[in-house]
């Protein structure tokens, strides 16, 4: 039976070492570029010949665009509008990455915690920067919940700071764990199918259901990552 974790191995496609730093072009990097390419193709192809009555493709692009716009506006209000390009890019990148990973023999870069943690740190860093840019030192009042009694503050403030710092960790682990667990499970059931011969029909049925479920998870997790970024952005914009 094949190793179910084999699919997460990173291979160097073009080895490259610069000043002691491993900058090799890996299969992970390849699939990230493919994701960017696929997302760009999807968007540019959709608006290539814009019509008042949109074609199916253009309609799909418009739906994704306006959906993310609605989510952002519902969470952050009009103040969040300037950050739409970032949120939209983040959503499309994760979504295409997750969906590309559903193609057999492809590589899921969102199942690598370093990738998801990098993405989480980007959105966490942006939210923190926006908060400090808009509120200055006053942004620290985020750590003091309104209405908290003064004598509780020595306990509450460290907890609030820890809860703030654990945001990127939970963002990263959520996406990574979902993708990794799902793909491992698919592989395990595929292994059962091969090992059981004729009776492998049962795990095969399970696997086909799981595949559909994994597509749901892929879309849902991209959405969850996006909406949580929106919620953190809202905290940075309005404080509480």
């Amino acid at each position: 039976m094949n190793d179910p974790l084999h699919q997460f191995e990173i291979h160097r496609l073009i080895p490259l070492h610069l000043a002691g730093v491993d900058l090799s072009f890996t299969n992970s990097a390849l699939f990230m570029m493919l994701a960017v390419g696929a997302a760009s193709l999807f968007l540019l192809g959709g608006v290539r010949k814009p019509q008042a009555v949109p074609s199916r493709w253009q309609s799909m692009v418009e739906m994704v665009y306006s959906y993310i716009g609605t989510v952002l506006e519902e969470t952050t209000g009009m103040e969040g509008r300037p950050y739409f390009p970032f949120i939209f890019t983040l959503f499309l990148f994760i979504l295409t990455g997750n969906l590309l990973g559903m193609i057999p023999y492809s590589f899921t870069f969102t199942s690598q915690i370093v990738v998801t943690f990098g993405l989480a740190m980007i959105s966490f860093g942006l939210c923190t920067l926006v908060g400090f840019w808009r509120h200055g030192v006053h942004y620290f009042s985020l750590f003091v919940p309104p209405g908290a009694p003064i004598y509780m503050l020595p306990l509450i403030v460290p907890i609030e700071i820890l809860s703030y710092l654990s945001r990127p960790v939970s963002l990263a682990i959520r996406l990574f764990a979902n993708m990794m667990a799902g793909h491992t499970m698919l592989k395990v059931f595929a292994g059962f199918t091969v090992a059981l011969g004729f009776y492998g029909l049962a795990p095969l049925c399970v696997n086909s259901i799981l595949t559909a479920f994994e597509v749901l998870v892929a879309v849902l997790q991209a959405y969850v990552f996006t909406i949580l970024t929106c919620i953190y952005l809202r905290d940075a914009l309005y404080l509480h």
Partner: protein, 100 residues
């Protein structure tokens, strides 16, 4: 139970129909499921972050193991807090947010 046999028969038929309908109309709505996926991860992340900060404090101030003990507990509380926030967060509504 009512005395009317016709009503009883109707009730039985209704129960049977409901049973066959159940899988087709699951009470699984997307929003709560999504929140439950989030909840556990938030707790875990809080504990992990607390342990990380605790180990860091231990190393910097050489007060092992007190930093780890204190921050592990604080991290667990922070994780619980995050979890509760996710679970009790009101769904986004159409409204204009005002500046504080």
């Amino acid at each position: 139970m009512s005395q009317d046999p016709q009503l009883d028969a109707l009730k039985n038929r209704l129960r049977k129909a409901e049973k066959t309908l159940k899988p087709a109309s699951p009470s699984f709505s997307q929003k709560p499921a999504m929140q439950f996926i989030n909840a556990g991860v938030d707790l875990f992340a809080g504990v992990l972050m607390g342990a990380g900060v605790g180990l860091f404090v231990d190393r910097v101030f050489t007060i092992s193991p007190w930093g780890l003990i204190v921050f592990f507990c604080l991290g667990a509380v922070a994780g619980l807090l995050n979890m509760c926030r996710v679970l009790t967060r009101p769904p986004p509504q159409h409204k204009n947010h005002s500046h504080e």
